[in-house]
């Protein structure tokens, strides 16, 4: 994809990171189910097989666990594999290799071998995808020592973090939300690698801190925009890296605002939101003016039908209502507001 300006899409940011890293290092290759076909993983792998050959960008048989193990073997033998999984639920087939093998192979070799393996995986919200294709498993990946987990929200984070992931000597899982692919934002050329393990303030504010992951940051920014009109100022903090977690900015923010909402793109029970919440309570002990509010998937399976699907996923509206409750404000009239949906996606700019 040719760049017209510094404002590019998330999709193109990923494509650029891949192209540049494959140019830089002949050991980088990308593979997985459907990676080489004409759809090119939402076009994120566009042009790669043409430019680098089908030995460096190719489709594979359907065998997720083996694909991850294959990446481990290639990584410890000197290459820098990138393995793509179109939906995160397919990684449930690969938990064995990920957690029994990839996570600890370097440790088990007495630190002799390196495992520069990147797993890209795409998370939901699709369109009537129903209960199998709508998971978001960041808490699983983060629970196991030895795996780094990244969830970029903006195009520049997507590019900068993917570059870092590829150059990292440890396995990194990068989770991309498919509703973000079209969103645009400024990505400088060249984009410096963004260190794994650093959070970011997406929006400064004074009244309530919202800590979001992936798409939920878009919802948080929308909530901030709406509430700004009523004089409530939200600070939005994006962890960007789920593990290892940098909680410094969020803690500082909550100490300032005294109120915290964690809006995770995932289930609550034993989820990443529980980890964040725990750390906020611990590190802001005595500074909180209200209990932390967690927002995430409804405690059920994602249904196909739209009215129920809309209840499963939480949005800016849920964040707004939670804040109103927290601050004991009356319910804002939202009838004039335009919220995001499959048909009306956030397109940026960030």
């Amino acid at each position: 994809m040719v760049r017209m300006s510094n404002i590019i899409s998330y999709r193109q940011a990923i494509n650029e990171a891949l192209t540049e890293e494959m140019e830089r290092d002949s050991g980088v290759f990308i593979y997985g189910i459907d990676v080489g076909d004409h759809d090119r993983i939402f076009k994120t792998t566009a042009g790669l097989s043409e430019k680098f050959g089908t030995n460096r960008c190719f489709s594979t048989p359907l065998c997720e666990d083996t694909l991850v193990g294959f990446g481990l073997g290639a990584a410890l033998n000197g290459l820098r594999p990138i393995n793509v999984h179109m939906r995160v639920d397919f990684l449930l087939l690969a938990m064995n290799q990920l957690m029994n093998m990839v996570a600890n192979f370097r440790f088990g070799s007495g630190d002799k071998l390196k495992v520069p393996l990147v797993i890209r995986t795409i998370i939901g919200r699709g369109w009537g995808q129903s209960y199998q294709h709508s998971k978001s498993l960041q808490s699983f990946f983060a629970h196991i020592p030895g795996l780094k987990v990244v969830m970029p929200t903006t195009p520049s984070d997507a590019k900068g973090l993917l570059i870092s992931a590829i150059r990292d000597d440890s396995p990194v899982i990068i989770m991309e939300h498919r509703w973000l692919y079209d969103a645009i934002g400024e990505v400088p050329a060249p984009q410096e690698p963004i260190p794994i393990g650093q959070s970011k303030i997406l929006r400064e504010g004074t009244d309530v801190t919202v800590i979001g992951t992936s798409w939920m940051n878009v919802e948080a920014l929308k909530a901030a925009e709406v509430l700004a009109k009523t004089g409530v100022s939200l600070e939005v903090v994006d962890p960007r890296t789920i593990s290892p977690l940098d909680d410094s900015l969020m803690v500082r923010s909550v100490k300032k605002t005294g109120h915290c909402i964690v809006a995770d793109n995932g289930w609550l029970n034993c989820g990443f939101s529980a980890e964040i919440t725990t750390r906020i309570y611990e590190k802001c002990f005595g500074n909180l003016k209200s209990p932390v509010t967690r927002i995430g998937f409804a405690e059920t399976h994602c249904p196909c039908t739209r009215p129920l699907e809309n209840m499963f996923y939480q949005t800016a509206i849920d964040i707004i209502r939670a804040i109103e409750e927290k601050l004991r404000l009356p319910e804002t009239d939202l009838s004039g507001e335009n919220f995001y949906s499959y048909e009306n996606k956030f397109k940026g700019p960030f």
């Binding site: 189910i33 459907d34 080489g36 076909d37 004409h38 759809d39 190719f58 489709s59 594979t60 048989p61 359907l62 065998c63 997720e64 666990d65 083996t66 639920d89 397919f90 087939l93 699709g126 369109w127 009537g128 995808q129 129903s130 209960y131 199998q132 294709h133 409804a298 405690e299 059920t300 399976h301 249904p303 196909c304 039908t305 739209r306 009215p307 129920l308 209840m311 499963f312």
Partner: protein, 326 residues
């Protein structure tokens, strides 16, 4: 001379073929109206397999299949009310709209379920077959899957276990040559899956026909063998997927397959073949048209009623826990 029983059988098979074909056509027609908000994996091209196998199975046996489940559902149930209810995400759907196109089921008639995870129903199917063996109830379980599924560990593990335990199960491999857009040549490290599977303790049957009667008869033979020889069957059937992997359009312009190949397969289109056969066997054009009309009317009516049906309630977002401890 065609026997009366055969004529009747062929007519029944035709009804199944026609129901599937017509339903898929109607989905293509109505999908752009955006009332069926569910990803569609159309079964056009495969009709003879679902119709033939499911007719041979009847409703006393059981069946599982993949997300490409319209054919099996329709051939198994012959109904379209709960079907369109589900596609439209309505409370009248068999799963109250929770599942959509990829997760049809009809336990009442033996269609136990479908899954969007490739190969994942195969282990489940052999477990159900074990339950039948355990209860000694004579039921056989058939499980449908594609040429992509045989790459997944689940397939091999379940095949091994079924052959070991001599389970009453029929594996039905529907080979359309592609997993999404990737051809078998980029996915299989061998020439023929049948040559491999036949080295397991099971009976293998192989066909490229689009003649539903042949598939029906092959299935009957497989079912008898499963019962007689007390071991699993493996039925391998080639077909051509008429439309794109998911969605309603053609995709010949994508470059991974040609219109010419499609047109070759069209000359042996299963619905066409079967209609010609019926006429040759002495069924009148009127009889056929009357049945076709009946089916079309049923479909139209059920689409309309689905469109009018209510959406499910908030409580349907959650599994019902009747009779459970918690």
């Amino acid at each position: 001379m065609v026997s009366n029983a055969r004529r009747l059988l062929n007519f029944e098979l035709y009804k199944k073929l026609y129901l599937i074909r017509r339903t898929e056509e109607k989905i293509i027609e109505h999908y752009p109206e955006n009332e069926m908000k569910t990803p569609m994996h159309l079964y056009l091209g495969g009709e003879a397999i679902a119709a033939g196998v499911c007719h041979a199975l009847g409703q006393n046996n059981q069946v599982f299949c993949t997300y490409r489940s319209h054919g099996v559902y329709l051939a198994n149930t012959m109904e379209t009310k709960r079907f369109f209810g589900e596609l439209c995400g309505k409370a009248t759907g068999m799963a109250k709209g929770r599942g959509g196109s990829m997760h049809l089921s009809s336990p009442e008639t033996g269609f136990l379920g479908a899954s969007a995870i490739v190969a994942s129903v195969i282990p489940v199917a052999i477990g159900s077959a074990f339950a039948n063996q355990y209860r000694n109830n004579g039921k056989i379980v058939a499980v449908f899957f594609g040429d992509g599924a045989v790459e997944e560990g689940n397939f091999w593990e379940a095949l091994n276990m079924a052959c070991l335990l001599k389970l009453p199960v029929l594996f039905v491999c529907e080979d359309n040559g592609f997993a999404v857009h990737t051809p078998i040549s980029q996915r299989h490290g061998y020439d023929s899956i049948c040559r491999i599977v036949e080295k397991f303790n099971c009976s293998v049957m192989e066909t490229e026909t689009t003649d539903v009667e042949i598939i029906h008869d092959l299935t009957q033979n497989s079912l008898s063998l499963i019962r007689k020889e007390n071991k699993p069957g493996f039925l391998y059937a080639k077909y051509y997927r008429y439309r794109r992997h998911v969605g309603i359009e053609n995709d010949f312009e994508s470059g991974y397959r040609t219109r010419a190949e499609f047109e070759k397969w069209l000359t042996v289109d299963s619905i066409h073949l079967q209609r010609v056969k019926l006429l040759a066997a002495g069924v009148s054009e009127e009889e056929i048209v009357s049945v076709e009309k009946e089916i079309s009317t049923q479909i139209e009516k059920d689409i309309k009623s689905a469109q009018k049906a209510p959406f499910p309630n908030r409580e349907d977002l959650y599994e019902r826990k009747d009779g459970q401890n918690v």
